[in-house]
Symmetry: C2
Subunit: 162 residues, 2 copies
């Protein structure tokens, strides 16, 4: 997982939230994930990546963050994680994956994205088996809480440029 | 999602559990998922699939089922969902994906599998945004509980044969 991947991914998250919900999240400092409980979310979209190497992307929201985002997206007050929220998480994860893959393709790495799977459940943990280290990108939405984007690739991505 | 995909997938799950843990799970009747709360698990491995169409595979275990499986796999008593269990779920999901993808390739559908992502949290729900209907394959491990394999593809898989 190269540092050169991080900035395009951060930019994709900001782009998608701005376009879809008119929200500008404040990115925190990305870090290497060492303990799974560092980024417990209440609803998470997972998108698998295939290409020169295998990867995966997880976008994990606190309940307060996602109800705020979905309220802004739909223009209707949303108060809890329901079917609309699960759909929105799938859609946002897919769009972040698509935007990030375009940015990676510009750097010579061409990836395909799988269908998003959405997991809901209070404070679940995310771990990445069989992968290199995961990078966690934390985002803040002012008083509306936090969300995290996690990305990981097999160790051999350094040799995977096309 | 074709019926012709179901039997090879069921066979892959049984193969992998038998090979890795010496366990023969009893498959139940597969069904179309209509409500997400039908298959709440305590730990789930998600593997994205790309190829002629996008897809995803989720393997979701109750705590009692996975601690039994991991105890059999490792030959050491395992009593709760910990790092070893999360690693095992990632590995089992990856192997089921690999075995199922070989079976699908024999039918003319060539898929790549992404890195598995593992989610842990009591009774989480799994939903599949942007997809065709998900098929749920339930399995029983006698008194040791249940697990579910869910698979879904985009609607257009019928035209995706290579």
């Amino acid at each position: 997982m190269q540092a050169e991947f991080i900035n395009p991914m951060l930019a994709s998250v900001v782009n998608v939230l701005k376009t879809m919900a008119g929200i500008e999240p404040q990115p925190g400092k990305p870090f290497l994930k060492r303990r799974p409980d560092l980024s417990q979310g209440d609803v998470t979209g997972v998108v698998g990546l295939t290409g020169p190497v295998q990867g995966s992307l997880a976008v994990s929201f606190s309940e307060s963050a996602i109800v705020y985002i979905v309220t802004q997206m739909l223009g209707e007050v949303c108060t809890e994680i329901n079917g609309d929220v699960q759909d929105a998480v799938g859609e946002l994860s897919n769009m972040i994956s698509g935007d990030a893959r375009r940015a990676l393709a510009d750097k010579g790495y061409t990836f395909q994205g799988a269908l998003p799977t959405v997991i809901s459940g209070r404070r679940h943990e995310i771990t990445h088996a069989l992968s290199g280290p995961a990078i966690v990108m934390p985002f803040r939405l002012g008083e509306h809480g936090t969300f995290f984007v996690e990305v990981c690739f097999e160790q051999s991505v350094a040799t995977g440029r096309t």
